[in-house]
């Protein structure tokens, strides 16, 4: 029983990371109809930037995290403005290749700045545990779950309640009508990339204390992509739920099925989902008008 609980918690925390990256994918897709295959690399960059502020610059970790989020926001916005916006009107395939290329570039940049040795992020809660009735939970896992819940709540409030958030939804539902209503659609697209990069960076910072930081950690972006499809591509809650489903399944598969199976769990779930319910858990009824 206690083992099940522990597995569940570590699976959920893994799933939160997948879910956050998936959220980034979906946000960009909904707003700009682009598939960003560099989402995992944005997470990796977030982890390295946080490492730089917290370990190298010896900032208190919360301050380091906050600065990292701001850097990621600015970086995402600049990326949209400088790299993606000139691609508007090009075939989706070309944009897809561009984002894959972007992933390569980011990995190369990371190797050149931070080297190829795996790094660890110094957080005060590393290795600390919480024991409840002889069940041991790692604080790192609990914090991932808590922070993800907090982030999702914040995003929900932003999109439901704020003037800008509602305008962003409008722009993704009907771009031309949003334009006619005076919503600066181009700047909104930049902002979406910024927010998406910041969410990915948050995922990287949360993951870093659990796993190691290296230039290849972004490859889990592929699993996050699977999570987004499982959740119903285009649905924000779906991205998180899909991530959690894959994270938990993977953790249990690693423990109870043969070890090699863990790595393919995400894709098995994806396949099953595509057969059983191709529209995903949260089918998005959205018919896009541009």
């Amino acid at each position: 029983m206690s083992e099940l609980l522990q597995l569940l918690v570590s699976g959920l925390s893994k799933g939160c990371v997948f879910g956050l990256i998936a959220l980034g994918f979906v946000l960009i897709y909904k707003a700009t109809e682009m598939l960003n295959f560099a989402q995992g690399e944005l997470m990796m960059m977030g982890a390295f930037v946080a490492f730089t502020f917290v370990n190298l610059a010896a900032m208190p970790f919360l301050a380091g995290f906050a600065v990292t989020l701001v850097v990621a926001l600015a970086f995402g916005m600049a990326l949209e403005r400088g790299v993606l916006r000139p691609m508007i009107g090009e075939p989706p395939f070309a944009v897809l290749m561009l984002t894959i290329g972007l992933g390569f570039v980011l990995r190369t940049v990371a190797v050149n700045i931070w080297g190829t040795d795996p790094r660890t992020l110094d957080v005060p809660y590393a290795g600390e545990v919480l024991v409840v009735r002889e069940v041991v939970f790692g604080y790192d896992n609990l914090i991932v779950i808590g922070a993800t819940a907090f982030l999702c709540g914040g995003l929900w409030l932003f999109f439901r309640r704020s003037r800008l958030g509602v305008a962003m939804q409008a722009a993704s539902q009907n771009q031309l009508a949003a334009y006619y209503s005076g919503v600066p659609v181009k700047r909104v697209a930049s902002l979406v990339w910024g927010i998406s990069a910041a969410i990915s960076a948050a995922a990287g910072m949360l993951l870093a204390p659990i796993s190691l930081i290296d230039q290849n950690m972004g490859f889990i972006g592929i699993k996050a992509f699977a999570a987004a499809i499982v959740g119903g591509f285009g649905s924000l809650p779906g991205a998180i739920v899909g991530g959690l489903l894959i994270g938990v399944s993977e953790e249990f598969a690693l423990r109870y099925l043969w070890p090699g199976f863990g790595e393919v769990t995400a894709f098995v779930i994806l396949l099953v989902m595509l057969f059983v319910r191709p529209q995903g858990i949260f089918a998005s009824l959205q018919k896009k008008k541009v």
């Binding site: 003037r163 509602v166 305008a167 539902q173 949003a178 006619y180 959205q286």
Partner: protein, 258 residues
């Protein structure tokens, strides 16, 4: 006393879809507090003219002047900021936002505005929207969606409103209702309106001045009183039989375009 400068002036506009020249040198004027209509069969280029005015399309040649300012080639959000509202063809609403949220987006540019006052104004014109304010716009009926689109443009407190075929696909009772709203907005709010219509009878009843477009050009312009009595207009735009045939052809074409 000299004539005041028109609110909106188009001079020799030429607009292309890729290599296709859709607008072939159009000039027109909308004076303050007037209702002007553009008539024309499908494919004449009426929608393209409106898109060129609001900045969704850039003209290759010519200029657009609004309130004395050259707005040629400006992005649509910046044009909207000058209090130029645009109700596009085909009831473009935000389907997953509630009716009230749709209206709130319409007031996006007016940061310091009193949202409730503006909402009350819109609900005054469209009581049905007040009833369904919490409903996602996608669930509204066609007529209500059209009213929502007009209401959303009203939230800009426009000095000029571009209205693209507001009566399209609506039952006769709703067409009359929309026509009445157009007249009231013009009278009560002092709003200038540029109305594009295939329903020539309605447009000529409502508007003061009219332009007739054919394949990208303006072929006739006059006061609506005189247009109504022009033989060509009576034959091609007000003839009942003719209109029925055009209506059907129009839908066929629609399917192949999208």
């Amino acid at each position: 006393m000299t004539e005041p400068e028109p609110l909106l002036t188009l001079r020799n506009i030429e607009t292309y879809y890729g290599p296709i020249m859709a607008i072939r040198g159009v000039s027109l004027e909308v004076r303050e507090r007037s209702i002007v209509t553009i008539l024309g069969a499908n494919g004449a280029g009426k929608t393209t003219v409106l898109k060129t005015i609001c900045g969704a399309m850039d003209p290759q040649k010519g200029s657009v002047t609004f309130r004395g300012e050259d707005i040629t080639g400006r992005d649509p959000d910046r044009v909207a900021r000058l209090h130029l509202g645009h109700v596009p063809e085909g009831r473009e609403v935000f389907p997953f936002l509630t009716a009230e949220e749709n209206l709130a987006v319409g007031a996006f540019t007016r940061r310091r505005a009193n949202l409730n006052e503006d909402l009350a104004l819109v609900y005054g014109y469209f009581p049905a929207l007040a009833e369904h304010r919490k409903l996602p716009a996608g669930f509204l009926s066609g007529g209500q969606q059209q009213m929502l689109a007009i209401g959303r443009a009203l939230m800009l407190r426009p000095q000029l409103m571009l209205l693209d075929e507001p009566s399209l696909g609506l039952a006769p009772r709703l067409v009359a209702e929309i026509a009445e709203i157009v007249v009231r907005l013009n009278r009560e709010q002092g709003m200038a309106i540029l109305l594009v219509e295939q329903n020539a009878r309605m447009a000529l009843d409502v508007a003061h001045y009219g332009y007739v477009m054919e394949v990208g050009r303006i072929v006739m312009e006059d006061t609506c009183e005189r247009l109504k009595n022009a033989p060509d207009i009576q034959e091609f735009y007000l003839g009942m039989k003719d209109q029925g045939v055009r209506g059907r052809r129009r839908w066929k074409q629609r399917k192949t375009w999208r």
